[in-house]
Amino acid sequence: MMEWFENFWQVYNNLVLTIGVNALLALSIWLTLSCGLLAMANAAFMGIGAYTASILTMNYGAPFPVALAGGIAAPALVALLIGGPTLRLSGVYLAMATLGFGEVVRVLILNAESLTGGALGLNGIPQATQWWHVLLALIVVLLILWRLRRSRIGRAFEAINEDAVAASLMGIAVNAHKMLAFALGAAIAGLAGALNAHLTFFIGPSEFGFDRGVDILTMAILGGTGGLTGPVLGALIVTLLPELLRSFRDFRTMMNGAILVIIVLFLPKGLWDPKRIRQWFGRKAA
C-alpha cells in the first residue's frame, strides 16, 4: 500500500497540487461573483502574486513566508488602486474593463525585462512549496470564507448580489463591500500564484493571460457559485478532465469542451446545486 502510494505520488504529485492551486483560484473568483461582480482580473492578480513572490525569493533572497506575504499583498494593493474606477461598472462592462487590466499587466510584465525576464519569463525559482503548504493554504482560505459567509459581511455580499440598490438602502456601504470582495479575491489569487511559482520552477507572462482567466471562471461556474463546495469541485474536474481523457489522444480537447458544454446545459447552476440534488433524491424517494 505504502509503495503504491509512493509511486502514485511520484507520478501525480504535480497534478494533485495543481488541483489545490486551481481550487484557490476558483475560490478567488467565487468571492467577487458572490458579491455580484463579474471581475475577470484574477489571472492578472495571480501573475502579480507569482512575479512578486518569485522576485522576492530570487533577487532578494527573502524567506518563503515573506515571499508568500508579498505575493498576497501586492495584488491586493493593486486591486484597491484599480477598484476605485472599475467597480463603478457592472456586468459585462466590468468584465471588459478587468480583462483590459489583465492585458495591461501582461504587457507590463513582458516589457519590464530587467525585473521579470520579459517573454523568457523567470527561470530557476526555488521549489519551496511543499504539498502541505498548498493544503494548508486551501484549508485556511476555505475556513476564512466559510466564516465570512456567516457574518454580516457575507450577508451584505449576498444582498448586493441580489439587488445593490435595496442593499444600499439597508445601510450597506455597497462600494466598500465590493472593494473588499475584489481585494480579498486578488489576495487569494496572488497566494495561488505565489505557491504555484515556487512549485513549477518557471513562470512566464503567457501563463497569466486571457486563457487562464477563462479557465478560472469556468472552474467556478462549472462547480456552482452557490457555496464553497462548487468552486473546489469545479477546480477538481477542470484539472482532472484532460488527464482522464488522455486515451482520446487528438480528440482530447474536443471531448473536454463537449463535456463542459453538456454540464453547463443540464446543470445551469453548476454541479454543486444542493436544491437540485435534494429534488432528485426527493423524487426518487417519492
Binding site: R147, E162, D163, I172
Partner: protein, 257 residues
Amino acid sequence: MLKLTNVSKRFGGLSVLQDVSFEVPTGKVFGLIGPNGAGKTTVFNLITGLLAPSGGTITLQGESLLGHAPHQITRQGIARTFQNIRIFKDMTLLDNVVVGMHSHLNYGVPGWLFSLPGFRAQEQRAREKARELLGWVGLSAKAGDTADNLSYGDQRKLELARALATEPKLLLLDEPVAGMNTGEKVELMGEITNIAKRGYTIFMIEHDMRFVMGLCERIAVLNFGRIIAEGSPDEIKNNPDVIEAYLGREDDAEVSS
C-alpha cells in the same frame, strides 16, 4: 421630522419637480398623493439619496441629507419600501430581515472569524429581533422559507419588516397596497396602523384614495411636479384643485358627454 424646502429635480430639459416644499410631522402618518407621473417616486428617490436634487434642501430633524450616500441616509434613520418590490428573493425571510440590521451589528473581524461569544450573541439577538419583526407583519410562521415563494401581499409585508429592521425614525412606503386585493389591503392597513402606534413616523405615497384617507393624518397633493394642496384628509377631499387634478374640469366633462 422630515422637511423639504424648494426641492426641484430636472432630468436634462425635463423638469420633474419644481419648488416642492412640505414637512412630515413627527409621529404622524403623512401621505403624498397625485396622478401617475406626477413625480411622487422621484421625491422618495431624492430623500433616500438615490438621486440628487437639482435645487433645494432636504433635512431630517434639522440635519441636511444632501450629498449623503443611500446607506448613510439609512443609518440616519430613514427606511423605505419600493413600488416594485425589491426583496432578496434567494434568501430566507429571516435573512432578509437580518440584512436590514447590517449597520447595527458591530463585531470586528476576530469576532466572526473565530465565532467569539460577542459575535454569537449579536447574531442571536439579530435573529430574535428579526423573528419579532416578522411577527409584527404576521409572517413568523414562514421565517425559514425562501422569499421567492411568498405571495405578492406577503412580499410587501416582508419588505415592511425588512425596512423596520434598519431601526428607522421615518418609514417611507412607496405605494404599499399596489396590486393587492381588498382583503390584503385591509390587512395591511391594520398592520401599518399598528406600526404607526409604535411611534414610527410614516410617509407614504399611494394611489388608493380610501387607503390614504383612512390612514393619513396629513396629505400633500403633487401634480405635474408641483405641490397643489396640503392639509387634513377632509380639506384635501374638498379642495377644488385636487378634484380637478384627479377628475378633470367640469367643462371638460361637458365636452366629452
